[in-house]
Amino acid sequence: MPQRKNEIAMRNPYRPILTEIEKITIENEARDLKTFRLAFCHAESADNFRYECGQFAELTIFGVGECPIGIASSPTDRGYLEFTVKRYPDGLVTNALHNCCVGTRIGVRGPLGNCFPTDRMEGSNVVIVGGGFAFTTLRSTIRYILHEKNRGRFEKVTLVYGARSPGELLYKQELERWQGRDDIETHITVDKGDETWTGKEGFVPAVLKEVAPNPDNAIALVCGPPIMLKFTLPVLTELGFGSGEIITSLENRMKCGIGLCGRCNIGSKYVCKDGPVFTYEQVQALPAEM
């Protein structure tokens, strides 16, 4: 995976930059997923925060704590960052964040980790497979690819995205916009629809099998809950995708985010520094400790 070179020398890597919550969007029916749009407090931070799709950042609620969250906005979105955060009953920081209102100061450390291989994806067909709320950095990638300056660099784009129920789909308005475009093929599915749902029903692996994207000159990005990954990866392999052409993103309890604190390793690889983006081939070589 491409490593972003960190040009920090003796800068204090533990100190965040300052942002302010500009907008909060409740994403789902269960109301435990919110997207926070953060505006930079200082113009130079906005200029210096250069990130790529798939990277993450550590968000600080001052006086409470810090947690690692994938960047959901696209590098083409200027002047702000977006993070979609799930509130966990036991999560100190995610709870505090969900209780914040517009205007709250949030610290941001990043961008951290490696990124999706957009250079390798150039000139290729891109298959994006997402499940549940593990769709945030994939959304970043889709926004990036669909940007008018970038769309020409990629071939066919196919999206398979699913959630438990219609109310649990993220970025609903955006999904509708994508469905209306002719430069991305969308397959939005839910495990079980409701009375208003007119779209597809079925699990992501089954829908993917039905869609059967061509593996020739293609790269697949796959993010979702472990159970979805378990059944999706064999489908991709069956379709003919090599394990080096399947890309996923891992999570762990990343504290420092820069490979120092010794917490997020799987085998000898740090998720924060060597990842979070890995090929399926790389994941298969890791010990079973996820």
């Binding site: 890597p13 810090e66 999570e251 309890r253």
Partner: protein, 341 residues
Amino acid sequence: MADSKIAKDKIPELLKAVSADYELYAPTAEDGTIAFRRIDSARQATLDYRNTAVSAKELFLPRAEVVYEFDGEKFLDDALLDQKRVVFGMRPCDCRALALLDLNFDTEQIKDPFYVTRRQNTVVVALACNEPVSSCFCTAVGSGPYSDQGADVLMAEAADYLSARAITDKGKDFMKQYGKLFSADGSADWKKLAKEAEDKIKRKPEFGNVKASLDERFENDIWEDISQKCLGCGACSYICPTCYCFDLVSEKTAGRIRKVKTWDCCMFGLFTLHASGHNPRPVNSARLRQKLMHKFNYYRERYGVDGCVGCGRCVRKCPVNLDIREVIEQVAAAPNATTEE
């Protein structure tokens, strides 16, 4: 630079002079144990000691350290060490641990400015180890009682004097600064002294192929066996000179918010617990395996060297007598399910 020597009865004079110029840390007797403490001319260092109970890493990675302070509007200046310090009498194992910690905290890509500043501002004066104890195994992990890695000056105790040699430029400057207390004819037979000390290490566990044997035994019943008696108390990490894993904790004080970097330990279940409740290392055996793997497999893979200096503290202090030398040997001897099926 030729070796020089200093008579033992001149040591107090040397320490007095050093403490006038530097913050001076040396082994001191305290509550029946030996610990590195800041000393001044009034307080005598103890040089008659085997090793300190807790390693000297805390002088470079403090147990708790503020990494930033924020007043709600702006960050205060970083509290980087601005004093020049001398640590006198560190054993070669602890000095070598610094060379290993450098690999993690002082890299081309990322530098921990707090650690790096402490390293830069500190002269490490090592005291070679003439009397290794039964739990020492430095020679099994590429070190030795006369190793000079990580030290700026290495001293060795002979009859009634200490021989000294500068190892780094910082060490040369130190020797020049206090040259008048040393005489120039200090040439000691370092090789002979080192050999004598090494011969006193009776137990030489075979750690040569430990990485390979661990590679093949990630999934192995032996971890469950070995971890049966481990309490997961973390004492081994606390006193270890190379265990560096840390936590970052937020604190609120009057009108201020700060982030504190504290020692942490992979033996604790909370270490890897996700907010979702998922824990990739949910049981003690997985955590003990992580500790061994990090030191003897992952560190070697990342940096080409094991993350252990053989100081033997974990052997001496484990409340249930888990001996890392035996653990490594037991793992190496465990049937390997993947290759011997």
